[in-house]
């Protein structure tokens, strides 16, 4: 009823407002840059300027746009993967048996080590074209983004509340409608959060994957990563600073333009029955809501999505037969299929290893793995000692926590490998020990996860418990041991798991760093993989990566998973 009467201001608002003009400019700028980049992609690889990098700071905006677009292309692929793989794993029991452990492994494999070989693969797909390189880079980013998003989707789908499932069934929603009305909305908050995390992780890879050397050839895709590589080769510290500034601007921009609004929007889908404190809308979301043009565009997209999701598509089987027994024969065929796949895989692995490798190689990789493990442990301890007190201090002061939280998230998104050259200059200048001083590089980008999780934990610490503690005059060390550490522990573990995983991955780029002709190498499994990659020694790369995956998996299974479930069981409040 209220929609039929027009408020007096409605006529005025029909005219385009200032925001509309801003919006139009934004849309056209985006379209133009996409078109520009797309043209660059189809160029032949040996065309003049196709893969050459100029250190002129004025070229940086273009490079930044190209890098960002690569990120989003990979993100689109990751979303596609999430919706298919994650859904298949959750919906089909048979598929889940194999898909979930596979995902778990893929998550722990440092794909960075395989970069060279994926490049060869994609260049053979599009011989002589820049497109091959582009795809290789996008694929590398994809591998850093997709797994945790798919996992999040899978977990959401498995935990859809039963009463809503029953309601959908009893109102006879088709499978397609149920997916879009119930399951996807339920998965959205987790998915948005994981997408943000993935974007942060992806920057690390984009920088590493743009400049690739294969044997004698070096290709540099136009982008910030290549710019940095070029600056490193030319020992141009000014250019590196320019690149860092450009990167800051890019991250700030997509954070403000995309993720803040997305997160605010996704709270609508959070499954809670009480309305909690709502943060004010980020300015971008306000812009979209206030701008006529953007809003009607948004509505249009929303309506299209709604009617698409509402389509009565169904391959409805009798809903009851699904609960019935699955066919015995199918079960057997499936088991045989998986067994033969495993058999074939192990046979291939064994013959390959036997031809190229020796037992001593395994021993060497294992020992180097222990060195890197030691590094990771020391770093985690140090980072915890530094950031837990700071995080608690910030978290217990709401005014500070509000300011610190976005900063820490922002820092986590910043690709730490951009900062490596700065460290190298310092190490070279002061002639520091490489084995020790290259180590901090590994934790540079990932320590922030500890910080912002601890801040969140301390901020969520119940006021009555704090009051009780001070009422009984629990102070000093006792307060840390009995009050705050158990209180923030689940949050801390979440952050620490992410941080340590990131450390392993970073080892591959952090243990070997070069500055012009100077090359700094630390002992460790990361350096082992990186140097084997440089030599094109496939067997040792595979070995190194396999050993590293084994380390990560064992570390996770023996340390983090038990700690995590302990924290979930015993230290969760309420």
């Amino acid at each position: 009823m209220s929609t039929t009467t027009q408020p007096p201001l409605a006529a005025e608002r029909r005219l385009p407002n200032v925001w509309d003009i801003v919006a139009i400019l934004c849309v056209f700028a985006t379209l133009i840059s996409v078109a520009h980049v797309a043209r660059g992609t189809w160029v032949r690889i040996d065309a003049p300027g196709a893969t050459e990098i100029s250190l002129d700071p004025w070229r940086l905006p273009e490079y930044a746009v190209r890098t960002t677009l690569r990120m989003f292309a990979a993100l689109a692929a990751s979303l596609l993967f999430t919706f298919t793989y994650g859904t298949a794993a959750a919906k089909s029991q048979r598929a889940g048996i194999i898909l979930i452990p596979l995902l778990d492994i893929l998550q722990s494999v440092p794909i960075l080590g395989f970069l060279t070989f994926t490049v060869v693969f994609f260049m053979n797909l599009f011989p002589g074209q820049v497109l091959g390189l582009e795809l290789a880079s996008i694929f590398a980013i994809f591998t850093s983004q997709a797994w945790n998003m798919a996992f999040s989707m899978y977990q959401s789908l498995r935990t859809v509340p039963t009463d809503l499932v029953e309601a959908s069934t009893s109102f006879r929603l088709s499978a397609w409608q149920k997916f879009w009305r119930l399951e996807v909305p339920f998965a959205i908050p987790g998915l948005v959060w994981n997408t943000m995390m993935s974007m942060s992780g992806g920057w690390f890879f984009v920088v590493a994957s743009e400049a690739i050397s294969l044997g004698d050839n070096t290709w540099k895709l136009p982008g910030i990563g290549s710019y940095i590589a070029q600056a490193q080769a030319e020992r141009n510290i000014g250019a590196i600073l320019w690149a860092i500034i450009a990167m800051l601007v890019v991250i700030l921009a997509y954070d403000q333009l995309l993720f803040r609004p997305l997160v605010a929007w996704s709270t609508k889908f959070r499954f809670e029955t009480t309305s909690g404190a709502t943060a004010s809308d980020p300015w971008m979301l306000r812009l979209v809501r206030r701008t006529r043009l953007l809003r009607s565009a948004g509505d249009l997209v929303g309506q299209a999505a709604t009617s698409l999701g509402g389509l009565h598509l169904s391959f409805r089987r009798d809903p009851w037969t699904r609960h019935g027994t699955q066919s015995r024969a199918g079960e057997i065929v499936w088991a045989v299929l998986i067994a033969s796949l495993i058999g074939w895989g192990s046979w291939r692995a064994i013959t390959f290893a036997a031809a190229e490798l020796h037992w001593s190689d395994l021993g060497e990789a294992f020992l180097l793995g222990l060195v890197t493990l030691l590094r990771v442990i020391v770093l985690m301890v140090l980072a915890s000692l530094i950031w837990v007190p700071i995080g608690v201090w910030l978290g217990l002061r709401p005014a500070w926590a509000r300011r610190a939280q976005p900063v820490a998230q922002f820092l986590a998104a910043f690709p730490a490998n951009l900062l490596f050259p700065v460290f190298v200059v310092v190490i070279v200048h002061f002639q520091l020990n490489q084995d020790i001083w290259l180590t901090p590089l590994m934790v540079l980008g990932t320590q922030w996860y500890i910080l912002f999780n601890v801040v969140a934990g301390a901020a969520a610490f119940p006021g009555d418990l704090r009051e009780a503690a001070s009422n009984f005059r629990v102070n000093g060390l006792l307060w840390w041991r009995k009050v705050i550490i158990p209180g923030i522990f689940p949050y801390y573990i979440t952050g620490a798991i992410t941080a340590s995983g990131g450390c392993w991955n970073a080892a591959i780029v952090a243990e070997v760093v070069s500055w012009g002709d100077t090359k700094l190498v630390a002992h460790g499994l990361g350096a082992y993989i990186a140097e084997a990659t440089e030599r094109g020694d496939m067997a040792r790369v595979v070995l190194g990566v396999a050993v590293m995956s084994a380390f990560v998996l064992t570390f996770n299974r023996l340390l983090w998973h038990p700690l995590y479930s302990y924290a979930r069981r015993r230290l969760t409040l309420g």
Partner: protein, 430 residues
């Protein structure tokens, strides 16, 4: 007389367990529903009444028997049947309007008609101004109104309600009940018949034309009662009170009768224990011992003064009966000598009495204690007891029973328990 709307014939629901016999939830349930009546399935939690409702709704497939809807078999969710959920089951990301339209959308009703019907349903149920609100902005009562509107908007012939008011506070629930009955009496509800599940005796007598009383283990219809009072009904009316009393009596009479029926006592582990806390038990015994009751009380009256529903009071009474602290009889409960002794004892005395009662009347406690005594390290994993329980009852019940025993045994200091390791031990006691 019209042909029945719904018929449930010899319905049986059992869950398979590999090791042992089936766990029977429903056994030989028959039910006929005609147009123009409100029927209640009244019983304790765990008596299988919600399962029956889900079978009627086509959400569950019965292991045996048949459900006929307008003469044809039900084989999945059916057009003429809509359901209201105990937990409301509203989609938090859809507005009230979108939630209500959901069932229509699933049927491919065009947008304009959807909107009109949703508006009508919301107006009918008193939610006209809330169409654009999200569920989380509403109070519990308003949410359940949305649930009701969502079911009514599809014009179902049969409305199913699964404990629709049990998640609401007393006043809100009462308002919703009377609103619903008013609409029904005025013929404004677009439904032909209502089938509701409840464990609230007064609610059933207040709203329904017929009451099917469920007994547990396995669930079956034990009694059928017709309520012939005209609407609106008065809770304070003498006949109303008498009927509530009678139903209490019927529900408390069940348990002892069952024990007599089985000549050989079943496996000591076969009876699930109800999750009843010690403070509740002590509190009830104290209330019973004090004036005005002086050791004997009428259950409905007691329930009213303690603000208990039958679902709270009966398990409590039955547990006291199991421990021989009290006896349930014809809608009354009275304390035994042991019970009086317990009330008068001090903290340690109570613990000793309780330990004694546990060892005498709860075989599972005895069994755990025996195993612990025999072991050289006086430790035993909880898993083996849970497994044994699961041979006799569903995993949920087994878990509940085990937890209850853990709580009781810890209080009585018969054994201690390590939650982390899931292990019983004799470390602390004695």
């Amino acid at each position: 007389m019209d042909a029945p709307l719904l018929e449930v014939l010899g319905c049986r629901q059992a869950y398979h367990k590999e090791a042992s016999a089936d766990l029977v939830v429903l056994e030989d349930v028959n039910l006929t529903l005609r147009e123009g009546e409100i029927v209640a399935l009244l019983g304790r939690s765990g008596s299988g009444k919600s399962t029956l409702l889900r079978i009627v709704a086509g959400l569950l497939h019965p292991t045996g028997g048949e459900v006929m809807w307008r003469g044809g078999p039900v084989s999945g969710p059916t057009d003429g049947i809509a359901m209201v959920f105990q937990s409301f089951a509203l989609f938090p990301w859809l507005t009230v309007q979108e939630n209500v339209e959901l069932g229509l959308e699933a049927r491919g009703v065009p947008r304009a008609e959807r909107k009109k019907r949703a508006d009508d349903a919301l107006d009918l149920i008193g939610l006209g101004g809330f169409a654009s609100a999200y569920p989380k902005e509403l109070s519990g009562g308003m949410r359940q109104r949305v649930g009701l509107a969502r079911a009514l908007v599809v014009y179902p012939d049969l409305l199913l309600m699964d404990e629709p008011f049990s998640a609401l506070d007393v006043l809100t629930a009462e308002t919703l009940r009377t609103d619903l009955i008013d609409l029904w009496s005025d013929g404004k509800l677009p439904v032909k018949s209502v089938l509701m599940v409840t464990h609230n005796i007064e609610e059933a007598v207040l709203m329904c034309d017929r009451i099917l009383l469920f007994s547990s283990n396995p669930g079956r219809v034990s009694h059928e009662l017709t309520v012939s009072f005209p609407h609106p009904r008065n809770r304070l009316d003498l006949a109303f009170r008498q009927m509530v009393d009678d139903i209490y009596a019927l529900m408390t009479r069940r348990a002892p009768a069952e024990h007599k029926a089985t000549a050989v006592p079943p496996d000591p582990l076969a009876t699930p224990l109800q999750r009843v806390g010690l403070n509740m038990m002590a509190g009830l015994m104290e209330a019973l011992a004090a004036s005005p009751y002086d050791g004997r009380a009428d259950l409905p009256a007691l329930a009213e003064t303690l603000h208990f529903e039958v679902d709270d009071l009966l398990p409590l009474g039955e547990t006291l009966q199991l421990l021989h602290f009290a006896v349930l009889e014809e809608g009354d409960v009275y304390l035994t000598e042991k019970g009086r002794a317990f009330v008068q004892a001090d903290v340690d005395g109570r613990r000793a009495l309780f330990a004694e009662a546990l060892r005498a009347h709860v075989p599972l406690v005895n069994m755990i204690r025996q195993v612990l005594d025999e072991r050289w390290n006086h430790r035993a994993s909880a898993v083996r007891f849970r497994d044994e329980l699961e041979d006799h009852m569903s995993p949920d019940y087994a878990d509940g029973t085990l937890r209850t025993v853990i709580g009781w045994g810890r209080y009585a200091e018969l054994f201690s328990y390590d939650e982390e390791a899931e292990q019983f031990s004799l470390e602390d006691p004695e």
